[in-house]
Symmetry: C2
Subunit: 236 residues, 2 copies
DNA sequence: TGCATTTTTCTTGTCGACAAGAAAAATGCA
DNA sequence: TGCATTTTTCTTGTCGACAAGAAAAATGCA
């Protein structure tokens, strides 16, 4: 649990049945935004106080987060936020590149008109975040943009894995912008627009190729992050 | 809940902290073996009686199963075992073929000696199940064999998705053997042996190609299942 | 007889308490 | 002073109860 405890939710009457989801949503966002740092402890009693709810729904939310790999639990021991294995990101990169390709290819093959509208909305939100130099929003809207593309591909297995990878990418990028916070890559706005055009044109090969290039740039960016001269002060 | 209630676990003293896992393991197996049929209701109170444990750990096990797509829950409504969308298995097939390829290729690249030993053990268990004409064991050991290959590839993202697909494949195949229960494909024993040899030889291309052929045969087998003249009496 | 409404029953979501296990602090000893 | 042991405190896993919401059954009416 971080020193700076985030604000409690509004203490209005909750509808019965919404407790677990409320806790899950908030904790998930905090993990992805690195407000809950990798490796930090997660204490049920403190969470129960903070959310003004009993421990049972807290625990259920934690089971759900554990199932998504965002936290780690062992019996009778305290839970903690999952670490990111920065020393071995290769499996992550491999999976990301392949999933960028597969989901974008499938979107080119299977999208529907309403899909394109959703994708465009997310594209606009991303462009706005870049223009506003809002790193948190940029990272989140980027993930949502690509997730919308995956949904348009209509394969829930790939979409599920890709969402998980996008989540992890959010944490990695959040750390990057925490430390450096300078680069707002306008060229990604342009690349996203090109991706949309290829998808709309149902050019599966073109979309696959572009998605690969796009993903490989992100991989390169993250790799360069770890070859910088100045240390990152990571607690590993 | 099926008419024929499976046996309760041994009512010995449980170690504190093992309750959720016990329930999870048993329910998961029953879902995968189709003892709990797709679409059937899941009742916490009955499970609590059956397992001689309070509802809280039951609920936690159910959250975990829901996270894996094996059951479906909505707030304030009864939970049920996930259906299998037999009318649209194409996403499943696409994901299976790709994951068979990716995991087998990665195993050829990254395996260690102890991995091969584990893979061989599972291969032998599969061969024994085929020889004994034990369909349940054959389905389970086949999944374990391929899961062990995926583990040898050392990419937990792909392994995670593949395990989920293998689980779903278990349910589909279980239904097949429930209905027809005749075919015990000895040639898959031979193909598994060949896969091992290619992996051991670190022939990534060969392993990828063979994995694709292998997976496409399974897809074909399942597809033929649904083009049979005699109806399956599926409740959809 | 068929439908709408009301009542009863059942199931789910959460509560707060108890106790086991782990972690931290205190004590004892060389 | 450093280590081992004991005691205390804290956290987790589970319990059983309460009440909200849903589903089933009963009642009322045309």
């Amino acid at each position: 649990m971080t020193e700076k405890s985030p604000a409690s939710p509004a203490i209005t009457e909750r509808k019965r049945g919404s407790g677990v989801k409320m806790v899950y949503d908030m904790l998930r966002d905090e993990i992805l935004d690195l407000k809950l740092a990798p490796g930090s402890p997660v204490d049920e009693m403190q969470l129960a106080e903070r959310f003004r709810i009993s421990r049972t729904p807290i625990r259920e939310a934690l089971v759900r987060l554990a199932g998504e790999g965002l936290i780690e639990t062992l019996p009778n021991r305290s839970t903690m936020v999952s670490n990111i294995d920065f020393l071995n990101l290769n499996p992550f990169f491999d999976a990301m590149v392949l999933m960028y390709r597969v989901t974008t290819r499938l979107a080119a093959q299977h999208h529907r008109p309403e899909d394109l509208a959703v994708i465009r909305d997310h594209h606009e939100a991303y462009a706005a975040a870049v223009a506003a130099r809002d790193a948190l929003a940029m990272i989140a809207t980027n993930a949502e943009f690509h997730a919308a593309i995956a949904e348009a591909g209509r394969n829930s297995y790939f979409t599920g894995l890709f969402r998980r990878l996008l989540d992890e990418g959010r944490r990695i990028l959040r750390l990057y912008y925490n430390s450096y916070g300078e680069e707002f890559p306008g060229r990604f706005v342009e690349e996203h627009a090109r991706l949309i055009a290829l998808i709309e044109a149902r050019d599966a090969e073109g979309a696959d190729r572009m998605a690969r290039e796009h993903a490989e740039q992100i991989v390169l960016q993250v790799q360069q992050l770890f070859s910088r001269k100045d240390p990152l002060n990571l607690s590993l």
